[in-house]
Structures are given as C-alpha cells and as structure tokens.
C-alpha cells in the first residue's frame, strides 16, 4: 500500500484489471463477471438506482440500512420483511410481499445480527423470483462464516449480483474497495452510475496483497470466532440473550431501551453500534481484539448490574 502512494499521479486501471483477474481466477468466474467499486456500499447504491424506482425494493428487517435508505431517497417503495424465528431471511415472505419487485436484497451473514440464511433458502428464492427481478446477495461478512458463497450461482442466474468487500475481514475499511460479481449486463447497469471509475492505487495494492495472503482468511476467521464466541458465552451464562452470529458482530437483548445502554457504555469509553428501531432492546457489538472484548464485557456488566 505504501508503494501505491508513489503511483497516485496516475489512474491505476492496470492494477484494477489485475485485481479483477486474480479475484476471478480464485473464484472460478470470468473476468467480465467482476467489477471493482470504491466500497461495496457504492455497488449496492448503484444497484438500487439501477433496478428500483418504478419497481420496489424488498429487504430483510433488521438488516444493513443502505439499500432501503437509497431506495427511499429515490422515492421507490421499500418492503421490509422481518427475519424468521431462526433469524434467517424469511424467503417465502420476501417473495410474497411483491410479485414483481425491482430488487431483492439478502445479506448473508446478516448485519446487524450476524445470523445466516441456509444456502437452500437462497437457492429457492433464486428459483422462484421473477427472472427480471434482480437479487443482490451481500457477502460482506462471508469470510467469517461457514456458509457457502453464492458466487458460483452467477453463472446460471442472470439476475444474481453478489457483493464482496475488503472492509471487514481484510481490515481495509478506510481504503474503500468492494467488488460486484454478476453477469455482464447487470454489471453494465451498475456502471452507468459509476462511469467506469477506478479505486486508489494504495487500496488496489492492499486488496491484491490480501487476496494473495493464503493464510489470512483462515487465521482471522478463527481469531474472530474465538473472541466472539467467548464473549457470547459469558453473556449467555449471565442470562443475556445473543444472536447466533457467524460474523464479526453480534446482538445482545438488553431488555430495556437499548439507546440508553449505548449511551451508558459510551460513558465507560466503550462504543457499540447503533440501535435498529425494529429491535429497540438490542445492541450491536462488533468483535474487537482480546483486550477490547474484555473492556466491553467489564463495561457491560458494570452498566447492566
């Protein structure tokens, strides 16, 4: 990434093509089925612009708010469908809420719960969704989980778009690199809003080095799992209900208005995530390192005596 600073006088398209080539090779897809965006958030926003407007957006609730916010900003109808009892996407309800939506958003694992949706459910949704409704599967947290990726399905589903990011397991949130994977007509539709933009050279170099670091995913996945599960186990033993997370965040039901607990934890110098209005008694906690999780737990048990 340091080396990339010296190259910042030029638009680094060759590096962007190299990143596409490496990712496509690793995932077994064609290079024209991969596009780079300055953050997967941008790819997601472009997808909402491209495929909603006259037609609706279907989202799970609670979930990552960006697609719903973007759709609302452009005046598109948003259908929010609660997660099911297993905190997975309720695919039948998502299919039933609108017979012809423009875009159906799935997040696997889901932010903020960290919970996962079985591959069979996603495949069923893909089979049953109208061919001209685009299905986005946001895999921002997939590296932390044991669920299979939907990337192989883009070959057989012309309406499937899968999103990946370097912001989470790869630790490059500030470098802004994300990827969209789908058949070329879908990527072209996103590009209309992105103008064939290029990411920054330090960011592209960081992304390439991350993909080429053979042990990184397994190592970080294991560390995250250990730290998350240890904290969740201690909270659960003390009687606090947590979501079944396979991501680098989980939620805890604090059984009272969660906003007040977020504020109380902040006073203890522990910042946790925002509160989702549909789950008003739950806080979202991102998984940090061991010392950070200790400080979270100490503060949690001080605040929630």
């Amino acid at each position: 990434m340091h080396q990339g600073v010296a190259g910042c006088g030029r638009y680094p398209y060759p590096l962007q093509y190299q990143l596409i080539e490496v990712f496509a090779r690793q995932q077994g897809v064609d290079e024209d089925q991969v596009q780079v965006f300055c953050g997967s958030k941008l790819a997601l926003q472009n997808a909402v612009h491209a495929f909603t407007g006259p037609r609706s957006l279907v989202v799970p609730e609670p979930s990552y708010e960006t697609p719903a916010q973007t759709a609302e900003a452009r005046g598109a109808k948003v259908h929010s469908v609660p997660l099911n009892a297993q905190q997975a996407h309720d695919v039948e309800a998502m299919l039933a809420v609108d017979p012809k939506p423009g875009l159906i958003y799935l997040c696997n694992p889901n932010n903020p719960t960290g919970s996962v949706t079985p591959a069979a459910d996603i495949e069923r949704l893909l089979r049953k969704a109208p061919a001209d409704s685009v299905v986005v599967v946001d895999e921002a947290y997939i590296h932390f989980s044991d669920v299979p990726s939907c990337i192989p399905l883009v070959k057989t589903h012309a309406n499937l778009l899968v999103l990946r990011t370097f912001s989470k397991l790869y630790g490059m949130a500030g470098a802004r690199v994300g990827l969209a994977v789908g058949q070329p007509p879908l990527l072209e539709a996103l590009e209309k809003f992105d103008g064939y933009n290029v990411a920054a050279e330090p960011s592209l170099r960081g992304a390439l080095a991350s993909l080429e670091d053979a042990s990184l995913v397994a190592r970080r996945k294991q560390d995250n799992q250990q730290l998350r599960d240890a904290t969740v186990a201690r909270l659960s033993r003390a009687g606090w209900r947590c979501t079944a997370s396979q991501a680098n965040c989980f939620m805890v039901d604090v059984r009272r208005p969660a906003e007040a607990i977020v504020a109380a934890l902040k006073e203890q110098q522990v910042l946790v995530g925002r509160v989702w209005p549909s789950w008003p008694t739950w806080i979202r906690v991102s998984v940090g390192d061991e010392a950070q999780m200790r400080r979270f737990e100490d503060a949690f048990f001080r605040v929630l005596v």
């Binding site: 990434m1 953050g39 958030k41 708010e65 932010n111 947290y141 912001s167 989470k168 397991l169 790869y170 630790g171 490059m172 949130a173 470098a175 802004r176 170099r205 960081g206 992304a207 080095a209 991350s210 080429e212 670091d213 990184l216 970080r220 560390d223 991501a247 680098n248 965040c249 902040k266 110098q269 522990v270 910042l271 946790v272 995530g273 925002r274 906690v285 991102s286 998984v287 940090g288 390192d289 950070q292 400080r295 979270f296 503060a299």
Partner: protein
Amino acid sequence: MEGLSRRRLVGLSAALPLLGQVSWAAPAAAAAAPGPAPVRLNYNESPFGPSAAA
C-alpha cells in the same frame, strides 16, 4: 462504511481551530484527564487492519 454523518464530521473539524483561540478552551483541554482511548466496537471494522503483506 456505516452511517457516520459527514456534516457532523465537518462541523467538528471546523470547530477545532477555533478552540485554541478562546481563553477558556486551552485550560479546559489541559485539565481533562487523559483516560484510556475509547474502544471502538461500533462499525464492524477489523481491529487488526490490513494484512501485513499489504
């Protein structure tokens, strides 16, 4: 990247240079206890940053 308001960030950074110019600001800042840095578990970021190879 999650819901950080750019307007709030810009507002905060615009106020910073002014702080040093008001008579009460410097002593107040100096008197503040150093305290531990906040633990940031709010944006699903990695505590480890980019790969060492990056």
